[in-house]
Symmetry: C2
Subunit: 322 residues, 2 copies
DNA sequence: TTGAAAGCGTTACCAG
DNA sequence: CTGGTAACGCTTTCAA
């Protein structure tokens, strides 16, 4: 592969001049420029980004940290972000950490040694991981990492409220709530919003079950449902949970939405695949991903950020299950 | 951030010695080593991978090229591969190209300039893109890129055959086949296997509709189904298509599996979310991803590869829809 | 067993 | 407007 020296030699100029041409920086005579351009074309020269990164002390790559890749919700997000990152001329490197702190540590260290330019974090970082975070622009999505970093989140409280209002308006009296892990801010907020609204309806009973987003089982849900045969409303903290609940309810002989109304959360594609289709709280994935990415690049380009912590409203999407 | 020089200074040795220590290469006196190690610890030194990559002319990153990230099937794949790539001490960079050849070209060029170490391609590369492919280890997954590159594929023909046999054994006589784009080898092979088997059953009628995996609509499927009210068996080239078909059939008043048996392809999680759950041809995603990644690293490490083009058997997973 | 020095391919400063 | 050259942080050869 030709390098800048080869080009300089072929064009009979110095490497400095070639550098100026390829970076469109500083003065270079019109004629000289065309000479260089010809040489570049002839040699099929492309600058070595690694060398540039070394000099710049920063490589044009953005890291995305996720819990895992098995959730359609995350995938939708990466999909958006990768497109935006590409538009900025950067590459995207992904990293899943699950619950493995060792892995988290190694990845974080890798980011540091690879001099990545910025980080979007959509996962829980362990306390020890927080200290390992590279000192580069960072925005967190859905989970707060450090209070000093910009964060983007959807309005989980509002989501819970919307669901509660809908169920209340449908005259549900015996409601089952399947929450996510309550130590997660997002799960907790959804539940708070939900319960807050229903507190105003003294004749409404709510029973809650806490589930893990990834490892919950049909049995857990089914067992809970049979305990409350009078159930007439369900709010689940994710569409996946809602989909399974839907199934269990049907197995228990309930008609949806006649006997029981069901509301999910996320609005991922399975919400349209279930039978009946699922009413759900739509997370504005697109807006959130875009905001996160744009904020990150503002940080990278040292531009002003209007608001450190941003919360984006959610929306109730009504389908057949209510 | 401390660099190798700082360490050398602190340990009172040369940078060459430090290099030997961190790479565990060449002779270095036991005592000297511990001196260096102490300095490293004290300065919290980590080697700069970018500088290493520059020297090595190759960075420890693997690129994964995909059509898009919106398909759970791909996500499952990346998920596996990322874990394996991480184990090898490399980072994963992802790139989606869709049908955008301009984007494809830019990404391919980026890979070149970023000196990535290897490429896993699971997408159709345009003819002009083929020429832009960086000259590095490359394996293709699900789609053949160049005949000279190793490829991994599942046995699509076998998948079609299994589906056909199952439907035939269930005495289906009027079968609807929803294929993927027939210019894609995988879709075509599935259909060929399917039709081949059914050719032995003269009293079985098959009607096929070609769909795009990403942009197919419920209306397309529904319209096709109403044309054939006598339908008693369906084979779809993906679980997503099958899920929608299931829904249309139910809307048309069919009972599944009593009136119509339905078989999908992929075995992604929606196959378990539908009602009834979906019988499907399971692609061995795990095995395929692992084989692809391992093959790539064999290439990178210049090890022998036993077989250039590998085909992995598929499996019929029986659920409620048959 | 160790160190000096020559790269790896760029960029940017400073002279001219 | 252009060129020489010192970085950037590392590895490896060659001598000692």
């Amino acid at each position: 592969m030709a390098n800048i020296k080869d080009v300089a030699k072929k064009a009979n100029v110095s490497v400095a001049t070639v550098s100026r041409v390829i970076n469109n920086k500083g003065y270079v005579n019109h004629h000289t420029r065309s000479l260089v351009e010809a040489a570049i074309k002839e040699l099929n020269y492309v600058p070595n980004e690694v060398a540039r990164s070394l000099f710049r002390k920063s490589s044009k790559t953005i890291g995305i940290v996720l819990y895992d890749l098995k959730n359609e919700f995350f995938n939708e997000m990466i999909s958006q972000m990768e497109a935006l990152i590409f538009k900025h001329g950067y590459q995207t490197t992904i990293c899943t950490i699950g619950d493995d702190t060792e892995r988290e540590k190694t990845y974080l260290r890798m980011f540091k040694t690879n001099k990545i330019a910025g980080l979007i974090i959509c996962a829980d970082i362990s306390p020890s991981g927080i200290n390992e975070l590279p000192d580069i622009p960072l925005v967190s999505l859905e989970r707060l990492v450090k209070d000093s970093n910009p964060s983007i989140d959807c309005d989980n409280v509002m989501g819970g409220e919307l669901a509660a209002k809908k169920l209340a308006a449908s005259h549900c009296k015996h409601i089952l709530q399947f929450t996510g892990p309550l130590n997660l801010a997002c799960s907790e907020e959804r539940s708070v919003g939900f319960l807050n609204v229903l507190a105003d309806f003294p004749d409404v009973f709510v029973h809650s079950l806490e589930l893990d987003f990834n490892t919950f089982t049909e049995a857990e849900i089914s067992d809970f449902i049979v305990k409350y045969p009078e159930v007439d409303g369900v709010f689940a903290a994710s569409d996946r949970i809602a989909a399974v609940a839907l199934k269990c309810l049907k197995k228990a002989g309930k008609r949806i939405p006649e006997d029981v109304k069901v509301i999910g959360f996320d609005n991922i594609s399975i919400a349209q695949m279930t039978d009946p289709t699922l009413t759900t709280i739509s997370q504005p994935i697109h807006a959130m991903s875009e905001l996160a990415t744009n904020t990150l690049f503002k940080l990278i380009n040292k531009e002003e950020i209007d608001q450190l912590h941003q919360i984006i409203p959610v929306e109730l999407i009504e389908r057949e299950s209510t």
